[in-house]
Subunit: 339 residues, 2 copies
DNA sequence: TCTGCTACTGTTACCGCTAACAGCCACCTT
DNA sequence: AAGGTGGCTGTTAGCGGTAACAGTAGCAGA
């Protein structure tokens, strides 16, 4: 319970260290950054003084003078989604070796908020930006395009990137899942997903899904949306609703694993034969699924790898814009009949 | 797929806007910050020019000149924990109205990493710092103490804060849970938790728990630790292991809800009578629990409120150090016998 | 002995913005 | 008419570092 400032003096600057060690500020700066030649004894003296004083460099001044900022902005829609923390892990993993540091901004799926987060971040002149999705306001795109730094849009590649992009085709992912379901013999298929008008990737998956259904002469026999609340619980509730409305449905396609898991638990509790009577599938490949009584069919979104590749692009800052497509694998689990 | 810099010129500065609008840089600065008196026509002209050019202010220069940084450092052990995203929500909620902005740093429960994250953050001279836990290296404590900004340690209050603190007593939480369990008539109690040597809060809960057991003349009849992997799955596995070793155990106390949920699913699948034959309890009150077939007993850690209060302290920057204790409520759910 | 080079340290001029203060003008006031 | 007074705009001097360049000393080679 000490006071925050035990020492009444001003915050320390290079000058303080310089005076304490008897060399110029420039030499102190060199020692602290490990740049240029400094004799061993001087270096020792300086480090000693800096340590004794508890000096912490001022990066604001440093960045202004050197025109270099070791920050990478990362803009994502949500932290509670389970998927973005994993992307962050991939990013940190790569950035850790480069002296670059990620700074996270959260948009809550709101375009306005995204715009202000981007603006705020750019005003700190980061070395690069990583942003989820390809859909941004015109102003956001313009800001990013003229920032003069590498921009990487992640998660999705179905669209026109500002600069670089790393992700999967959600449209294709939806299509693939539909094809697998149809091949397994299911015909009365329902969709259950988020209401969120701004979850463009879920929307694209559904588009691809319906496209493939149409090609097989099928249409969704029901759809159910939710927003907010406990995803697991919503999964149960929505599943109950669909099964009541359409007792003859034979497949439930969920827009994410969490609600899929809720649905699975519900079906099992009802004693429904899964995957015989009803099949289930989600999307994402969250590790949570490993602990369920039965393994939910899903598709891995390559989150870790997306984070890694995006960070690598920022670190390398290649001249030419690149688009890296990753290919998610369909994991049939135990909730789709073996055809 | 445009190039990142459509315009070959240097990045824009106040001077560019000033020239474009025919007024001094100072006036532009005033308009852009909404500070001081500027005539309506001038303001219009400046805003127009800034918008047309796509000017984004340089906060680095601004911060250096004004000695004010609208950043709040938030240091947490992990993002995938489910608990910290909620704390972040509380923080953002309050900070949103103040012009302050949170910047997250993740330590992965490593003291060394915590130290460097703190150092890095302080070097940006934030307006305040929010840090999880009371246990930090001597160097970390020293840096924070002499930073001259409000420091709020969150989650825990069993210890000696550097400055402010907001949290619950985990020792007391453990004790309370033990008392409830004993009161319900359980006697053969086992603990299942994380191995993590640096999860001090889980450790304190266990201490409090054992303390209360001891007072009733009981000791844990078994304990099982894990690290890494899917918590839900680990919960199943550990539960199986404990039940095999000690078929007569009658209560399983989990260090978090996720493994508790795994244990619950396992017990239900085995047809074990919960809470008759075996009782279960976790810790945290994660919303996931709402979707389980049966509601797991738990204790709410007040995460949202902790985030809010911490942010409020930073925003108000009170002179006197304050310690705010919150009191978690025990939610018996359906997995403890009604005594 | 003088030159040239290397190893080390210091000096100067900013980086882009803002605090503080200094005008200037129109309009009152007395 | 002299002296406020407020509204608006500009000037100056940094903020705390770093790039670029300028010494200085010591030593090897010619």
């Amino acid at each position: 319970m000490t006071k925050p400032t035990p020492d009444p003096r001003h915050t320390l600057t290079l000058r303080d260290v310089s005076e304490a060690s008897g060399v110029s500020e420039m030499t102190v700066s060199r020692v602290l950054r490990n740049r240029g030649d400094v004799s061993a004894p001087t270096r020792e003296k300086v480090l000693e003084a800096a340590r004794a004083l508890g000096y912490v460099p001022n990066k604001i001044a440093g960045a202004l003078a050197s025109q270099r900022v070791n920050l990478v902005g990362v803009v994502i829609p949500s932290l509670s989604n389970m998927v973005f923390p994993e992307v962050m892990t991939g990013i940190s993993e790569i950035l850790d070796g480069t002296g670059l540091q990620p700074v996270v901004g959260v948009t809550n799926y709101l375009p306005d908020r995204e715009e202000s987060v981007i603006y705020e971040m750019l005003s700190w002149r980061p070395s690069g930006m990583i942003i989820a999705g390809l859909e941004h306001s015109a102003a956001s795109r313009a800001m990013l395009a003229r920032a003069g730094i590498p921009i990487v849009e992640i998660m999705d590649i179905d669209g026109d990137p500002i600069n670089h992009a790393v992700g999967i085709s959600h449209r294709r992912a939806g299509r693939q899942m539909a094809e697998a379901i149809i091949a397994a013999g299911y015909r009365k298929i329902a969709f259950l997903g988020t209401q969120m008008p701004n979850d463009f990737r879920a929307k694209k998956r559904l588009e691809g899904f319906e496209e493939a259904l149409a090609k097989a002469g099928l249409t969704l026999i029901d759809r159910e949306y939710y927003s907010g609340g406990s995803a697991l619980l919503k999964g149960r509730e929505m599943t109950a609703a669909v099964l009541t409305r359409n007792p003859d449905v034979d497949f439930l396609y969920y827009s994410n694993d969490m609600i899929g898991a809720g649905g699975l638990l519900y079906c099992l509790a009802q004693g429904i034969d899964v995957p015989g009577r009803i099949g289930l599938a989600g999307f994402n490949g969250v590790e949570l699924l490993d602990g369920l009584p039965r393994k939910l069919a899903t598709m891995d979104a390559c989150r870790l790898e997306i984070g890694r590749k995006a960070a690598r692009i920022i670190a390398d800052a290649p001249e030419a814009a690149q688009v890296e497509e990753l290919f998610p694998t369909l994991e049939p689990g135990d909730t789709i009949r073996k055809s």
